[in-house]
Symmetry: C2
Subunit: 277 residues, 2 copies
C-alpha cells in the first residue's frame, strides 16, 4: 500500500513509525518544503522516497496531510483530481474551516481527523512510535467522506491503537478551543509573564514540576499555533474570556480574603480529576 | 539520631524515605492530627513511633514541620524551650511570615526551608523515596539560624541529594509567587473554566497531554493552598496581574489579527526552554 505523507514532522513521522510497526505492507512517499526534514526523514527510515510535488502523490492509496492548518487548506486546493480509491486524511487541530474549504469535487476523498496527541517537540527527529497508541482521534463531518474513505480511515486508526470519536467539525472546534487551544495561549502567557519578571537564575532555581508542566507547551511551534489561533479565532477568544472570568474570581477571593469560598472553589477544581484519572 | 516529623504527608513521608535510604542511623517519631495518616505512616515504615503532642518531640535532634504554612506558624509558638542542639526545619512554601513569626527565643533553632519539589498527591501513601533527589531546596534568612543548625540542615539536604540555594525570605516569596503560586491559581482556574463549559464526555475524549499537564496541579490540596495564598497574598496578586496583562496581550493580538506579532510573542515564550532545558 502506497502512503503519501505531506509534512515530515512529529505527527507525520510518528504515523509512519506506528504504521510500520503494525505492518510491513506500507511504502511511504514523503513531501516537505524543508529539505533538512526530508533528508532526516529518509535517514531515520520514516519514508522510503521523497517527492517534490503533490503530483507525485496521486498514485497513493492514502495521503496524510500533517502540516500546519493553513497549509492543509492550500494543499487541498491542488490535490484534485484523485483516483477513485484514494483517501486523504488531514491531521489538523482545527476542523471547520478545513472541512468547508475542500473543493467539493474531491470532498468525498477527504477524512477530517484530529488525533488528540502530540508533544511540544517538532521535526522528524521528534517522531515517536507510540505517539498515537491508546489516544483518541476525532473524526469530523464523517458523512461528507466516501464510504470507502471512512472505512480506510477507521481501520487505519484502529490498527495503530487509537480510539475513534465522531463529532461535527463546528462542535469539535469549540471543544478543542477550551480543552487544547486556550491552554496553549495560557502556557505561552505564563512563560512570557514569568520571563518578564524573573531572571534566569531564579527560574532555574525555583522551577518545580508544576511550573515545568505548565510551561511545557509554551515550547510549541509558533507557525503551527499562529494558524490554529487564526482558524479558530472566535472559539479561542470565547475560551480565553471564560478562563479570564474564572481567574478573576480567584483574584477577587484572594483580594477580599474570602478563604472559605476560595477553598470550596479549589475543591471544585479537584473534581476534574475524577473525570480524567 | 532522633528525628521528629510533624505532618506525615507527601513531604514528611518522602523525607523519611530519603533519609532512611541514606543512613540506617535515624529513628523517626511522627505527629499528625489525622489518625489514618498516623497508622498508614507506621504501616509503611515511614516512622518508628507516633506521638500525640509536640512535648514528646523535644528530645529530638531534628524536628521537621511538614504541614500547611499556617500550621507551621501555630506549631512554632508551642515548641519552646528546646534543647541546645535541636534543629527545627520547616518545609513551607511561603517563608516571610513564617520566618518573622517564630518566637525570638527559639529563632536560632529554626531553619526556614522550601524544597522545590512535590506532586499533586497527598498523604503518607503518596510518599516517594526520590522526591527530593536532584531538586533545589531554598534556605531563607539563614543568618537568623544558629551555626550548628545551619550545618545540620545543609548536611542533611546534601545527604539526600538536594542542591542548596540561599535567599532572603522576602525575595523568596516574590519569586515563589511567580514561579509556583500563581501557576497554581491558573491551573485551578483552567480546571474550573473547562468544567463550566464542557461536559465530562468531551473532556475525556479531547484531553491531550497538554491539558493534562496544565490541569495536574489543580488536584493539589485546597487546605494547603488556602494557607499559601493567604500568607503570600500581595505577591500572588501581583503575579496574577502580571500574567493577566500577558494573556490580554495574546487576546488582543488574536482579536486584531496581528498574526506576525503573535508569532513573535510565541517565539519569545519558546525561549523559556533555553533557560529550563
Amino acid at each position: 500500500m502506497k502512503v503519501g505523507i505531506v509534512g515530515l514532522g512529529l505527527m507525520g513521522g510518528s504515523l509512519s513509525l506506528a504504521l510500520k510497526k503494525h505492518s510491513k505492507d506500507y511504502y511511504f512517499i514523503g513531501l516537505d518544503h524543508n529539505e533538512l526534514h526530508c533528508s532526516q526523514a529518509l535517514q531515520l527510515g520514516l519514508v522510503d522516497e521523497i517527492c517534490t510535488s503533490t503530483e507525485a502523490l496521486k498514485s497513493c492509496d492514502i495521503i496524510f496531510l500533517s502540516i500546519p492548518v493553513d497549509g492543509i487548506i492550500s494543499v487541498s486546493q491542488q490535490l484534485g483530481p484523485l483516483n477513485d480509491r484514494c483517501t486523504v486524511i488531514d491531521l489538523g487541530s482545527t476542523k471547520e474551516k478545513i472541512s468547508l474549504s475542500i473543493p467539493s469535487d474531491i470532498r468525498h476523498h477527504f477524512v477530517a481527523a484530529h488525533p488528540m496527541t502530540g508533544t511540544e517537540k517538532f521535526g522528524p527527529t521528534a517522531a515517536l512510535e507510540d505517539l498515537y497508541t491508546d489516544k483518541v482521534v476525532v473524526l469530523c463531518d464523517l458523512e461528507k467522506s466516501g464510504v470507502h474513505q471512512q472505512n480506510v480511515a477507521k481501520k487505519l486508526f484502529t490498527d495503530i491503537g487509537m480510539n475513534i470519536v465522531c463529532m461535527d467539525a463546528k462542535e469539535h472546534d469549540r471543544h478543542a478551543a477550551f480543552i487544547s487551544h486556550m491552554p496553549h495561549a495560557i502556557s505561552y502567557s505564563l512563560a512570557n509573564s514569568v520571563m518578564a519578571q524573573e531572571d534566569s537564575k531564579s527560574i532555574v532555581a525555583l522551577a518545580g514540576g508544576g511550573f515545568k508542566d505548565m510551561s511545557r507547551i509554551a515550547k510549541s511551534s509558533p507557525n503551527m499555533w499562529e494558524d490554529i489561533f487564526r482558524q479558530n479565532k472566535s472559539n479561542v477568544l470565547e475560551a480565553i474570556n471564560s478562563f479570564q472570568s474564572e481567574l478573576k474570581k480567584c483574584q477577587k477571593m484572594v483580594e477580599n480574603e474570602e478563604w472559605e469560598t476560595l477553598n470550596d472553589w479549589m475543591r471544585e477544581a479537584n473534581t476534574l480529576h475524577d473525570i480524567l484519572d
